[in-house]
């Protein structure tokens, strides 16, 4: 049973005005805006958040429109992403999955992408963006466990889209993702995943 202390929106997490994600400052103190907890190092970790893209981040998406000027990309965000035609050498098709880097975010909210790479045939699923770090793990440790056991490649976008190759054992991988989703930030996640894959081997 976890002894962690929950932090709810409005709770003070620091004295002074400190700029950090999931918090706001007012009157000489900083308060949480999202539900989270304080970890062993005293850091405030969010348990829920809505992804806001920042330049240089890696995202995964799907082409939803192709025009002369460029492509529209679904990124599981309120506004779509955009790839200018000149930014990509190959021709992308409706439904193609891509991995790319965020170049800029327009004032209207449109995310412009660069360094676009088309992903092979596969499937994308949504995964809560607050839990993406747990899905990747320290130095990609969790992601590598998934890749090994799934038998195919997996690419994780910070925006909450996870691509898996059609070579993967998709039903198995979906179940593993569900375990990570429900147990992220709870103790025993790594063990639960190891146990899950062990049981599959029988």
């Amino acid at each position: 049973m976890s002894e962690r202390k929950i932090v709810v929106p409005g709770e003070k997490i620091a004295e002074g005005t400190i700029k950090m994600p999931g918090a706001y400052s007012e009157g000489g103190a900083t308060y949480a805006t999202l539900v989270g907890f304080i970890d062993e190092t005293g850091r405030y970790v969010q348990l829920e958040s809505r992804y806001t893209p920042t330049p240089d981040e890696i995202v995964v998406g799907m082409i939803t429109d192709s025009r002369h000027a460029g492509y529209s990309v679904d990124l599981a965000l309120p506004k779509e992403g955009f790839i200018p035609s000149r930014a990509v050498r190959i021709t992308l098709e409706l439904g193609d999955f891509i991995v790319a880097r965020v170049r800029t975010i327009e004032r209207g909210g449109v995310v412009e992408l660069c360094e676009v790479r088309r992903l092979p045939k596969g499937k994308i699923v949504e995964f809560p963006s607050a839990k993406i770090p747990r899905l990747i793990g320290k130095k990609s440790s969790m992601l590598n466990i998934l890749r090994t056991n799934a038998g195919g490649d997996i690419v994780v976008g910070n925006n909450g889209y996870v691509w898996m190759s059609e070579r993967c054992n998709i039903p198995l991988l979906l179940k593993a993702l569900e375990i990570i989703r429900t147990k992220a930030h709870k103790p025993g996640l790594t063990d639960a995943i190891a146990k899950f894959f062990q049981e599959q081997k029988r």
Binding site: I63, D65, L94, G95, I170, P171, L174
Partner: protein
Amino acid sequence: MGDEIKEIVMSHMRKNIIANLLDRGERLDGRKFGEYREIEIQKGVIKTAEGSALAKIGDTQVLVAVKFEVATPFPDRPTEGVLITNSELLPLASPTFETGPPDENSIELARTVDRAIRSSEAVDLNSFYIEEGKVLGLFMDIYVLNHAGNYTDAATLAASTALIDTKLPKIENGTIVRGEYAGMLTPKAIPISTTLVKIGNHWIVDPSLAEEQVYDTRITIATTDTHVCAMQKGKGCLTKDELLSNIDIAFKKGSDIREILLSSASS
């Protein structure tokens, strides 16, 4: 608008993955073709209603509540009670549900479940006569709380369970005495619906949300112990043999699910 385009393109891509898995005998969530997701039923959940039930099939959740009112009978059936079924696809149940009056999906759901209940004669409308010009009206409200695929079967299940939970109101001087009851409704039949979809060459029962987004043909078949009491085909088409084979499956699944209903309803 963006959500709709995304759904169209997404489902196109998803279909290949799902169809390929089916060719190998697998479903996305690991189920067998004839397997339902976990079913859970709660009876008597709304105390302000004369009868109610919450049915869950996997993550899909549907609530049905039954309320009585004194009603005017139809002119051609002056001694028969009335049964009125309404459904709401609540906007909180899915990003694809909008606010506003019931759309064609909501109306189809209400009419399909109504057909199953009415045809099976679960409710004896002849016993609802009060006096000249007055009969009991049974109002059944179907509330979809979470849409993770196949809300139709969850709705029929919740409706049949709610009827088992339903208490008949006490009637005095032609009006309902709220809070006082005259026994249980005791439905004469327990219709269960089975929904099947065809994706590529394969028929599967109880489609999940992902499977619902890519199917070619859908059919819902409601059965009692002995009869088919309702059928509703969604989009797509099927052969006579496919229909008969699906009816066999519906009887089998109906019988299994009816057992689950009865064992949870007795608690």
